[in-house]
Symmetry: C2
Subunit: 273 residues, 2 copies
């Protein structure tokens, strides 16, 4: 029963100034623009292509979903995997000038290793895309693809010539692994109740509640972003999400809250310059 689940964005790696996957999607809009000339005049693509910050920041969830569908579908799962790895190899965080996969929290890497050394299985349970994470989580976190739960689009099986099957990514949402969906996703993918879960926003609240309701020893944790010098200080307001009702629950129920600034001696596995 040693199942542990970790949110990814803001819990295992930095989610500022924008979710990494959203940056990836916007870079893909730019990379695919020549094949999609209509985007030059079509929102929200025009806003991304012209770097119209005002329009980008107000595109809302609808605009974001359009961008996700256009940049995450129409290719095979294998080609998408390659696109993710190619992008990560060259993309750099705007502030730290490092690959995004360097911006993982050293204390969390140590916690993952400690748990695994004690026969716990470590899972990611993230609102992020399952196929955006799986190509690199084993190298970065030691978490293999089959222990990554996330949001997903529909894929469609097709058998092509010479017995070559493909899985084609379709522009249709299959599962949103956020909020209540995190408890539902844990049940669907894992089928056991975790004994430890760690998150950082309201999207993690139901996963924490579900964990807390089991019997025996358990641990519910929240990362609180308080360090504007070494990481980011955004208190209870995230890029998209918030830390509001989950915070209240954590206080009321005495769940563990990590204060990054005071509790973490180091943030990243590299030295800040």
């Amino acid at each position: 029963e040693r199942i542990t689940c970790f949110d990814n964005d803001g819990t295992l790696w930095t989610e500022q100034p924008m979710y990494v996957q959203v940056t990836f999607a916007m870079d893909r809009v730019r990379a695919l623009a020549s094949r999609n000339p209509q985007w030059r005049t079509q929102e929200p693509f025009r806003a991304v292509l012209e770097n119209d910050r005002a329009a980008v920041s107000t595109m809302g969830e609808k605009g974001l979903l359009e961008i996700m569908a256009a940049t995450h579908a129409g290719l095979t799962t294998e080609d998408f995997r390659k696109a993710v790895l190619d992008w990560l190899a060259t993309a750099r965080h705007p502030r730290f000038k490092r690959p995004y996969t360097d911006l993982v929290y050293q204390p969390m890497l140590e916690l993952l290793a400690l748990l695994r050394a004690n026969q716990f299985k470590t899972y990611i349970v993230s609102g992020g895309g399952i196929e955006f994470m799986r190509p690199w989580t084993e190298r970065v976190y030691g978490i293999p693809p089959e222990q990554v739960v996330g949001s997903s689009g529909v894929t469609r099986y097709e058998l092509r010539a010479n017995d070559q099957p493909i899985l084609l990514k379709e522009p249709k949402v299959q599962f949103i692994d956020d909020g209540p969906g995190k408890a539902e996703g844990i049940n669907q993918y894992i089928g056991r109740r975790p004994v430890l879960t760690f998150g950082n926003s309201d999207g993690d609240q139901q996963m924490l509640e579900w964990t807390a309701a089991g019997t025996g020893a358990r641990f519910m944790g929240l990362v609180h972003h308080t360090d504007g010098v070494r990481e980011y200080a955004y208190d209870r307001q995230s890029v998209v999400g918030k830390l509001d009702t989950a915070w209240n629950e954590a206080v009321r129920r005495k769940w563990t809250v990590v204060d990054m600034k005071h509790d973490w001696k180091v943030i990243y596995p590299f030295e800040l310059t």
Copy 2:
């Protein structure tokens, strides 16, 4: 990359004279009849309650789905788990007079153990219900809940009084893990391509194709039911499914076909009387 996937019904355990889960569902119709008096006159429930074999055998997929929805929904995941275990504890196979979980194939248990002894992860990838299998697969096959992929209904998270959350099973199909769905399900749940898969019907064909298309050593297997004395001989016609196009592929592509009568010295882990 040592991922292996096994179909369940007819590959790991006996699927005759009826899928075990269908027998479970029909027994649940009987058990829940007093709480649902309208069933006495309502098809397909009436047919089950009156043991009207002609009507039961012609209810078709639509009738079966109605029975599955009525007997698998409206309760929490924990209560459903208990219902499955309670039923398995007393239900007996009509011919062998043994618990259904005894009717597992000894050679397949040995194969599962051999694989695990060589650091392969063993998965079930079945058209059967994920929550019908997970309560007992670890005890019977050594396969933990998180390594069971199957068909599923929607569950809905609800927080009740005293911080008690539940996951409620709804009468709505979420995922059908059969045919192309098996390749899609492997991608969704596991995220790696298996190196070995074993099935017994056309519903397993795409999983076998998907496995065959990878690089490096691989194994694709089909169990052929040829032993009417020790198990059942139904050649290429199953209860619901068939072994037709997958059989042709196996012959053409030289996949392994197990002839139960000739290749298996023993069938079950108990002595036949």
